[in-house]
């Protein structure tokens, strides 16, 4: 399915299990290799679940450290990416709880309509400036809408589209059933699609 937008380079399950096994026994090289492969999961979760102004780098660092300290508890069969995502989500929740900002602050800094960054929705090869502007507006609106989503919908959306987890892995990471994940994801997609299509040509 094309909705899994950003995935890490695929690693064989056997290779992954072996790395996890070595990491659990304290092999530093294996730990470093696992982090290098999957750390973007922590970066993306923290970037999308924390409000603007929150120190994402510090949050990622703490997430990785929590993961390393929890390695002995990681079952060899568990996917490292999903496990790391769960730790990152919990860490973000802790930070938000501490700051009592769970649903009040935007996720992305400003989400200024003129600062939507590069866009890939442009028709190749020579983008029409009007379409570029519309695409930027759509991206900015989607970001703003994401920041307004209820916490659970935001988490599910980020894990699905920004981290690239499968529905089952999301359910495991959030300790809910797959049906719940689907419901939240469907609602989130509905809201995001509506605002995106309003802005798109």
């Amino acid at each position: 399915m094309a909705s899994v937008l950003r995935t890490e380079p695929t690693v064989g399950p056997e290779d992954e299990r072996e790395l996890v096994r070595r990491a659990r026994s304290g092999d530093r090289d294996a730990v470093a290799a696992l982090l290098e492969r999957h750390e973007l999961v922590a970066w993306r979760v923290c970037r999308h679940l924390l409000p603007a102004g929150e120190d994402v780098e510090a949050a990622v660092q703490e997430t990785l450290l929590r993961a390393l300290r929890g390695l002995p508890k990681l079952a060899a069969e568990t996917g490292f990416a999903g496990w790391l995502a769960a730790i990152a989500v919990n860490h973000c929740r802790d930070r938000l709880r501490r700051r009592r900002l769970v649903s009040f602050l935007p996720l992305e800094g400003g989400a200024d309509e003129d600062d939507a960054g590069p866009v890939s929705v442009l028709p190749a090869p020579a983008p029409d400036p009007e379409r570029v502007s519309m695409a930027r507006q759509a991206v900015a609106r989607v970001r703003r809408e994401l920041s307004r989503l209820p916490r659970r919908q935001r988490e599910v959306f980020a894990l699905r589209f920004f981290v690239g987890l499968e529905l089952e892995a999301i359910a495991e990471a959030l300790a809910v059933d797959v049906g719940t994940v689907k419901t939240h994801l469907h609602r989130a997609v509905h809201r995001v699609r509506r605002v995106a299509e309003e802005a798109l040509p």
Binding site: A2, L5, W43, E57, A135, R193
Partner: protein, 149 residues
């Protein structure tokens, strides 16, 4: 292939979980308009994700985490000390309670009064036992008797 395009709800389902009836999936595969709509939305979502951190930032954070991992967690020590202190208090509390229980309440006034009474009766009892005091106080008479005999 069914002729009509994807409804909003079908598109939401396709994007969210990919779950569509086979004939509708077949329609999407053959319909340029529906594919454009789906791909356009996915592209906006991807752009909304923003840029990932650079290699330097990733490496820096990873290395710090690995270095911290090598050190003992300070929080653990604090908790360990707190737990040990709590355990010690929990163990000592019944002991102090028990040792206090049989004691009669201490009344300094009564003690002082008793001391005063003893001193008034005979100041020497403060310095020596009753037998010694008795021996000393009765000694002059005995000595006199002994010396005279």
């Amino acid at each position: 292939m069914t002729a009509w395009h994807l409804s909003d709800d079908e598109l939401d389902r396709l994007i969210a979980s990919g779950e569509l009836p086979p004939e509708r999936t077949e329609h999407v595969n053959g319909c340029l308009a529906c594919r454009r709509r789906r791909d356009g939305l996915l592209a906006v979502i991807e752009d909304a994700s923003g840029a990932d951190p650079g290699d330097q930032a990733r490496e820096r954070v990873r290395e710090v985490a690995l270095a911290e991992w090598g050190r003992p967690a300070p929080r653990f020590h604090r908790w360990w000390l707190a737990a040990a202190a709590a355990l010690l208090v929990a163990l000592l509390l019944p002991l102090t309670h028990r040792s206090r229980q049989p004691q009669v309440a201490f009344d300094p006034e009564a003690v002082l009064e008793e001391v005063d009474t003893i001193l008034a009766r005979d100041p020497l009892t403060v310095l020596a036992s009753e037998e010694v005091v008795e021996a000393v106080t009765s000694a002059p008479g005995q000595a006199t008797e002994g010396s005279t005999s």
